[in-house]
Symmetry: C2
Subunit: 284 residues, 2 copies
Amino acid sequence: MRIITNIDDMKAYSREAKSQGKSIGLVPTMGFLHEGHMSLVRAAGEECDVVVLSIFVNPVQFGPGEDYEKYPRDMERDKKIAEETGVDHIFAPGVDEMYPDGYATYIEPEGHMASILCGKSRPGHFKGVDTVVAKLFNIVSPDKSYFGQKDAQQAVIIRQMVKDLNMNTEIRVMPIVREDDGLAASSRNAYLTGDERRQALGLYRSLKEAERLVSGGERSAGKLKKEMEKILLEGKDVRVDYIEAVDARTLKEVDLLKGETLIAVAAVVGNTKLIDNTVVRSGS
Amino acid sequence: MRIITNIDDMKAYSREAKSQGKSIGLVPTMGFLHEGHMSLVRAAGEECDVVVLSIFVNPVQFGPGEDYEKYPRDMERDKKIAEETGVDHIFAPGVDEMYPDGYATYIEPEGHMASILCGKSRPGHFKGVDTVVAKLFNIVSPDKSYFGQKDAQQAVIIRQMVKDLNMNTEIRVMPIVREDDGLAASSRNAYLTGDERRQALGLYRSLKEAERLVSGGERSAGKLKKEMEKILLEGKDVRVDYIEAVDARTLKEVDLLKGETLIAVAAVVGNTKLIDNTVVRSGS
């Protein structure tokens, strides 16, 4: 497994692989790898000849006061996990390599897709995401790129960017991976104390309750949200950021569930922002 | 020569050419071809195996009240000129093909490069340019892409985008082509009446005067601008938009000329907005 920190080197490796007729799978991450990332690497390994894992904590997608500085990093541990999971190249550029002096070009997702859900409390977040992901696509030239369903809104916005800008990679979105207790795998789980972690399980329990209500015939988004909020607020250190029911493809808010609905929740537990979601299907 | 209107077809032709080891040169235009465009096609023909000329009047780079609707179009004439000049494929998509319903992703050049010169009077213009050019790059996958020095600011901003987003095409900027009387070749010249055209020559004459003064040792940007303005205002229907002296690479305004300076002028003659420029070299 190679560790590549330089953009030109990464481009050269990708060109080399392509010239040998090999397909490339890209798994973009901010490191501190967990089972969610590993599931993406395994999918890439099954579908592509070469697996590139990028590790880059992207300053541009963090807002002022967010956790850019303290975001967990452990390159040695990541290298070990990546090698064991079948990564061929780690691409881990420095911030100056990705955003040199005079950097001035950004990709902006406009409209409601980027302004609802996490877009409300994190203005500029998805602009940072689109920008860094477009850069990675141009550097690595992946045939397929792998993202996790845990960041459902991110996946929809990146799919839209690929479609809008006519990019030449296929977006593959893989299911949420959960830890044994049900908490969605996330690098930020490392922030949680034992007590906070117990409270954080409210996100998962609220989504399970929503699923149960929908299978029982409930179609009112308002009713679902109310029941979910009750469960979340059982945690004394939980502050709800949003509970939303939106069309899974367009992210437009729904009042009555129909077709595929993304039920998404974001909450701050202690000082840790967590998100989770489920997609439910219901007849019209 | 093929005329391609569909994005997937264009991508397929480009893939085919690449798989045969052929290099692709892209000349992006808004059509109504003139000698300036033809010089780009000839350069592409000398340097690349396949020449793709795109013709697309990009609505996104026109502001409200600008000339999108009346911008000159003549596809039959363009086809003839393109074929005679050595174009292999014309890519001429419709607006719905490039910006389908729900389109939501834009590339935004930030900072002073996009806010000075034409960026002052045309907010959003370079966002429209970057967005369509990025789309064309992803659709055509050109090894080299050709732009005219007449749109000097556009060329600098596109170079910056390619660098910032790590795009895989080389930007080639070709010298301004002038008509016999000195007027810079432009599709918009077709708007000018005979009298306006005589007045429009003030742009060229003002730049020649600036060149003459610089060779004579003049280093003051203020002095140059004053002399240029005098010449421009000899035309009774001329309204000056800007006269600027900026660093040719960074587009930062200069007071005293040093190294390579872009002297750029924009004026409205009658109802027609015209731009022109020259690059002068001076010791420190």
